[in-house]
Structures are given as structure tokens and as C-alpha cells.
């Protein structure tokens, strides 16, 4: 029931966000219609960070409590997280093309940071599939999750200082953003966060079912 309400809320928010993005928010003077991309890019970037935080929480609790449900959470967050991070990279690339004339800008710290995050997500997922025992794989993934999360501030700091830029400002502090644009952005972030939570919950549920099926299969093959 709870999930159904969340689904409905997500749907309503998504439509509302679309309305705000395309009909309510003014068209940017310099960048034009391309700037609409911004309302997709920022939520994606935010979710790739948020997902890391979820992995971190799941990993820490798994390591200390040894309860499978925390591992399910960490694993699902890694899987959903890599999807959103990939999307962030694609949308960032689509943004870079008209604005800077190139598909990839190494000078842009947020884009570069996202790429490094993508590789850490990959490490998190790979280490699990490369381990023979399942319980061990979960522990290893949790260790990589914790180390990866602690690494993020360093990645952000070093990639932004790399090209002599100051660390990126939080988007809400940047002056000159039209209040209508800000509202649209905020609502987009909320809508996509709800979407993220819905997908994450779904994935956790599927993973539990997978474990259940595996257990039952084991029972059946034992009997026969």
C-alpha cells in the first residue's frame, strides 16, 4: 500500500515537473531551449551522490549488524545508482555539446567527478560478482562501498582544483537564478528523488524474492 501511494505521488510530481519545465519556467536568454536539460541534469547528479550515501548506510549497518536486509539495500542502491550515474553522464554530455561545443569537457569538475563515481560504483558491483561465496561478496562490496563514499570529497576537491577552479558551489547559492527556474529545479529534484526511492524499493523487493526463490529451489533439489 505504501509503495502504491509513493508510485502515485511520483507520477503526479513527474507530470508537475514536466509542466513546470516546459511551460512555466522561462527560456534562458543565452543558452535558449537547451537550458531545459539543466532540470534533468541536476537531479541525476544529485541522485548519483544520494545513492552513494544509501550504499554507505547499507554497508556500515551490514558490516556491524550482519543483517541481510542491509546488504539488499546496499546492493540495490549500487545497481540503481549506476543507472542514474550513467544517465547523469549522458545528460551532462548532451549539455556540454551545445554549451561548450564538445561532448566531453574535462575542465568541468562535476562531469569528471561523476565519471570517477561511475567507476567506483562499477568496482562495488564487480567485486561481488567476482567472489565465490555470497556472504563474502556482500562483505567485500560493503568495504568498497564505505571506502568509495569516503573517497567522494577527495574526488570532488581534486577534480575541481585540478583545472584551477574553486570547488563547485551548491547550486542554490548561485546568484541570478530566476525564482521560477529555482522552483522548477527544486520540484524536479523532488520528483526524481521520489522516482529513485520507488525504483530502489522495487529492487530491494525483487532481490528478496530472488533469495526466497533460491532457498526454495535448494529445498526442492534436496528432496528430489
Amino acid at each position: 500500500m505504501k509503495r502504491l501511494i509513493l508510485w502515485g505521488l511520483g507520477l503526479v510530481l513527474m507530470f508537475l515537473a514536466l509542466y513546470l519545465v516546459f511551460l512555466y519556467a522561462p527560456i534562458e536568454k543565452v543558452m535558449g531551449i537547451v537550458q531545459k536539460n539543466f532540470y534533468l541534469m541536476v537531479p541525476m547528479g544529485w541522485l548519483s551522490l544520494l545513492s552513494y550515501f544509501v550504499i554507505f548506510i547499507g554497508s556500515i549497518f551490514y558490516l556491524t549488524k550482519r543483517d541481510r536486509k542491509w546488504d539488499d539495500l546496499a546492493y540495490s542502491a549500487a545497481e540503481v545508482g549506476i543507472i542514474f550515474t550513467s544517465l547523469a553522464l549522458m545528460v551532462g554530455s548532451i549539455w556540454a555539446r551545445p554549451i561548450w561545443g564538445v561532448w566531453w569537457a574535462w575542465e568541468e569538475p562535476r562531469l569528471t567527478t561523476t565519471l570517477v563515481l561511475w567507476f567506483i560504483y562499477l568496482a562495488c558491483l564487480l567485486v561481488r560478482s567476482l567472489t565465490v561465496e555470497e556472504g563474502r561478496g556482500a562483505t567485500f562490496a560493503a568495504v568498497v562501498g564505505v571506502i568509495g563514499f569516503i573517497d567522494i570529497p577527495f574526488v570532488i576537491l581534486s577534480t575541481s582544483l585540478w583545472r584551477g577552479m574553486h570547488p563547485p558551489l551548491i547550486i542554490f547559492e548561485e546568484g541570478g537564478l530566476d525564482p521560477r527556474m529555482r522552483l522548477t529545479l527544486m520540484l524536479s529534484i523532488v520528483a526524481y528523488t521520489v522516482l529513485y526511492v520507488v525504483i530502489l524499493m522495487q529492487r530491494v523487493a525483487i532481490r528478496r524474492d530472488e533469495a526466497e526463490v533460491k532457498k526454495l529451489k535448494g529445498l526442492v533439489s534436496q528432496e528430489s
Binding site: V127, A142, V143, S158
Partner: protein, 223 residues
């Protein structure tokens, strides 16, 4: 036995077996020299090209050499089940981590101590300055702190030595960025003060990852 005497015992064991087999240092050193050689052909040894890529070359060499050497740290323990013996010893898991970190640090520093002068000689660079040596030692501590943890993890996976680079390299990217930038400035003859803000990044990376890896290490080697 106190914590540190146990740590020294493990480091001593590693150093002794290295002294007898000369396995890690010789192989890694040859590898590092080969990488330098290949870079020379890849980028050309023209002075202007060297100025541009020197510090990058240095750190690619050391990062790859580090992966090679850190991999061995636990693979030699896994062979003949030495790791099990190590785990049976009446000491905490953290002792193993610190002992291994010190041993790997020692091996890496020896390799670097030989490779740096060669590097300076072949490319005619002012490598042997206090700044550059300081940066090298600090960054190597960071490499070893993360690498020892992941090395212990990697030997317990199916793919063993293939796992370490894919875990280790993304995590140390900030460290490599800072190392390359700081060395660039050091090679240009800048003073300590001008290496700011890279030095604090390197030092805080070292401290934070040493502490976190120390705390988390026990989870990896259990059972």
C-alpha cells in the same frame, strides 16, 4: 608482546622473505624501468615534451608499479596457506594490516629510490629535491594504505590479481591528481608554500584512509 612489537615482527617476516627471494622488489623495479622506457618512446624525449608530461609519467609508473607490488603482498600469503597461519597467531587483525602496510611501504620506497634517480638521469630532470622526495613518500603512504586493504580483498576473489587495479585505481584518482599537480610544481622548482593546496589533500587522504582501512580490515580477513 605489545602492539608495535607484533607489527614489527610481521614487517620483519616480510622483509626477510623478500631479502631471500628478492621477488617483489626486483620484478617491480624492472617493470617500473620498462614503463619509463616505453614512455620515452611513446612521447619522444624532446625536452619540451618531457616538461609537459614528466610528472604524469612519474605517477603513472609508480601507480602501476604499486598495483604490481601490492598484489604480491597477499598472494604470497595465500600460496601454501600462509594467511591461515597468520590468522591463527594470537594477535588482532589490525596488527596484520599495519605490519603489511609497513612492509609494502618499505618495498615501494626502495623501488622508488632506485627509479627516481634513473628517471632524473634519463630525462634530465631535477627530480632529487626535498619537495619531490617528500611528495613521493607521502603519496606512497596513501597508495599503500588503500592498496593493502584491497590486496587482502582481491586474493579472496575468483580473479585475484585482476581485481586489485579495478578497485584501487578509481579510489586513488584524487591522490594521483594531487601527486601529479604537486610534482609538476616541484619539478618547476617551486617552494613548499607554493605546493599548497595539494599537500593538505595528500596528507588528509593518507590519514583518513589509514584510519578507515585499519578499522575495516578485520572484516576482510575473517573466517
Amino acid at each position: 608482546m605489545s602492539f608495535w612489537s607484533k607489527v614489527i615482527a610481521i614487517t620483519r617476516k616480510d622483509a626477510l622473505s623478500e631479502l631471500r627471494t628478492k621477488e617483489i622488489i626486483s620484478a617491480v623495479l624492472v617493470f617500473a624501468l620498462l614503463v619509463i622506457l616505453i614512455f620515452n618512446f611513446a612521447f619522444g624525449a624532446r625536452p619540451e615534451a618531457v616538461d609537459l608530461v614528466a610528472s604524469g609519467m612519474l605517477w603513472v609508473t609508480f601507480a602501476f608499479a604499486g598495483v604490481l607490488s601490492l598484489n604480491r603482498a597477499f598472494i604470497v600469503e595465500k600460496e601454501d596457506n600462509c594467511l591461515d597461519g597468520l590468522l591463527i597467531c594470537p594477535m588482532s587483525r589490525e596488527v596484520i594490516y599495519v605490519g603489511k602496510v609497513l612492509a609494502s611501504l618499505l618495498f615501494m620506497l626502495i623501488v622508488e629510490a632506485i627509479a627516481l634517480p634513473v628517471f632524473a638521469l634519463l630525462f634530465n630532470l631535477p627530480v632529487l629535491t626535498a619537495q619531490l622526495i617528500g611528495i613521493t613518500v607521502l603519496v606512497t603512504i596513501g597508495f599503500v594504505a588503500v592498496g593493502t586493504l584491497f590486496s587482502a580483498l582481491a586474493v579472496n576473489t575468483k580473479a585475484r590479481e585482476m581485481v586489485l587495479p579495478i578497485l584501487f585505481l578509481p579510489i586513488v584518482i584524487p591522490l594521483i591528481v594531487a601527486a601529479v599537480k604537486a610534482s609538476e610544481l616541484a619539478l618547476a622548482g617551486k617552494s613548499w608554500g607554493e605546493l599548497y593546496p595539494w599537500l593538505p589533500i595528500i596528507i588528509s587522504f593518507d590519514v583518513i584512509f589509514l584510519v578507515v582501512a585499519y578499522l575495516i580490515f578485520a572484516f576482510i580477513v575473517e573466517e
